[in-house]
Symmetry: C2
Subunit: 296 residues, 2 copies
């Protein structure tokens, strides 16, 4: 029988490692105020799910922590960049994030905009400069990240999100398509890039992608559920916001029970996808379960 | 004696070629509104100086138009992305650009923000997907572009610009450092990437970089001069804006005559830098002269 993983302590130590690397990665000179603005959002806590997925997928494919770390921190930088931009008044207009005022509330909209832009470009530069892997793998990682944050990924998803805000008749397919781009794509990219850097073959990479998309969608469904059921303290961001803004969410379209069932099915299917990783699948399965049972 | 180049007709035909390629490059699916928003700013005319410099430097180094074209259009996409973001109300708050209302005036701030983000990532993806050159050169091009728009380039320059807006005591060194990052870096990257893709050796690449920085700064000095001396019709963007905003400019710090002299010196020095290109230097010299004598 396989040894059971102590996931909470494993996640905690990975998170500490990632936070140290993030801290080191952004000591890059440049204007002081930009540096402070970036630090504020990047080092504000956060679950570090994307870096952890990348490191875990790399290990599951036989690669080292070192080879995946630059990409792992880049994923968190990209994620933070999209959060900073999405929170701006011209977009979702959010006041709280990770338990603190959002970036533009502290540093102004101009600096928040520039901090997001800087993180977009710097994250990729960091991967290029610090990844000790064959050139073809580095290029594939860069391409995956670019595609993921681009028109067919996070940015395209945000456009659909902005357009949906004016509509009352959003259906499940549109909602899933939006979240697949906004959340699924980047979580999936985390697993794919980890697998690529670890040397996984094409079939494993394909499985990793499918697993990532499914847990990404499950992650978002749980996010929507927590927005309904949590307080500001528990959530770290303004709760019940979706409801107030009459946003289309999974609980609103499916109800809470049916939403939970959908997330559970997605996680089960994701775990099947990665059986092919053998023993390496175990920590990825544990993360999938964690996504389902998280409380904030 | 070398045959004199008919620069105006050469620039016109290169511009037409680049516009056709830009039109083709952005037919990429994704949400319709995002596509319209991007088209509006990307295909709004413009001098196409950066793509032309890239193609010309590639040719001067013995490379083909085809190998440099994806990077040439990417440079224009990156330039357009920075313009869209810089024009936003939280930054320079500009109402006109290239003779038309700025992007956010037509499509709203949210879409303008996303269009800029999309162009940032898509431009690099375009280079990766369509450049038929050795992997090491493609990686170097990507790295150069990332560095150029990043913290040590355009974004860092914009931060200094935003900070300068509140100050009365800006000196020449600060002003030049800001423009070197905001304008010089991207013009220089255009020449450098062209040279790299054309197969130039390290010494030539270094010369190309120096040439690009100098004509970049000259380009900005002329911009400042034209802001003082032109009308809206001639300029295509709001004139006398620097003066109204009491912005630090070269004419304000040096006077018009001394500013013109500085630009002339920079262009002369830039032309010396590229003598090593031999016959290939001639069109680059012609472009440097054109930057000095342009009227809009």
């Amino acid at each position: 029988m396989l040894k059971q993983i102590d996931l909470p302590s494993r996640l905690r130590s990975q998170r500490e490692l990632i936070n140290r690397e993030l801290e080191r990665a952004i000591q890059i000179g440049g204007p002081d105020e930009l540096y402070r603005t970036i630090r504020y959002s990047l080092l504000a806590g956060g679950k570090r799910v994307r870096p952890i997925l990348c490191l875990t997928a790399c290990a599951a494919s036989g690669g080292s922590t070192e080879v995946a770390m630059p990409t792992a921190v880049a994923l968190e930088m990209l994620h933070t960049a999209t959060l900073i931009h999405d929170d701006l008044p011209s977009m979702d207009n959010d006041d709280f994030r990770r338990g603190r005022p959002t970036n533009h509330k502290v540093f102004g909209e101009g600096m928040a905009l520039l901090a997001g832009d800087a993180l977009l470009s710097y994250s990729l530069e960091h991967v290029l400069l610090h990844t000790d892997a064959p050139t073809s793998r580095v290029l594939r990682v860069i391409h995956t990240l670019l595609h993921t944050i681009g028109i067919h990924g996070a940015i395209g998803g945000q456009v659909i999100d902005v357009q949906m805000a004016d509509r009352e008749d959003v259906d499940l397919a549109t909602l899933e398509s939006m979240h697949t781009r906004k959340t699924g794509a980047l979580l999936s990219a985390a697993v794919v890039t980890g697998a690529v850097l670890g040397g996984a073959d094409e079939e494993l990479v394909r499985r990793a992608e499918s697993y990532g998309m499914k847990i990404g969608l499950a992650f978002q469904i749980i996010d929507d559920i927590l927005d309904v059921t949590s307080s500001l303290d528990e959530l770290g961001k303004t709760p019940h916001k979706d409801e107030k803004q009459r946003k289309a969410t999974f609980p609103r379209l499916l109800g809470l029970d049916q939403s939970r069932r959908r997330a559970t099915e997605l996680v089960a299917s994701a775990k099947q996808d990665i059986e092919l990783f053998g023993a390496g699948a175990q920590p990825l399965c544990a993360i999938a379960d964690f996504i389902l049972t998280r409380t904030h």
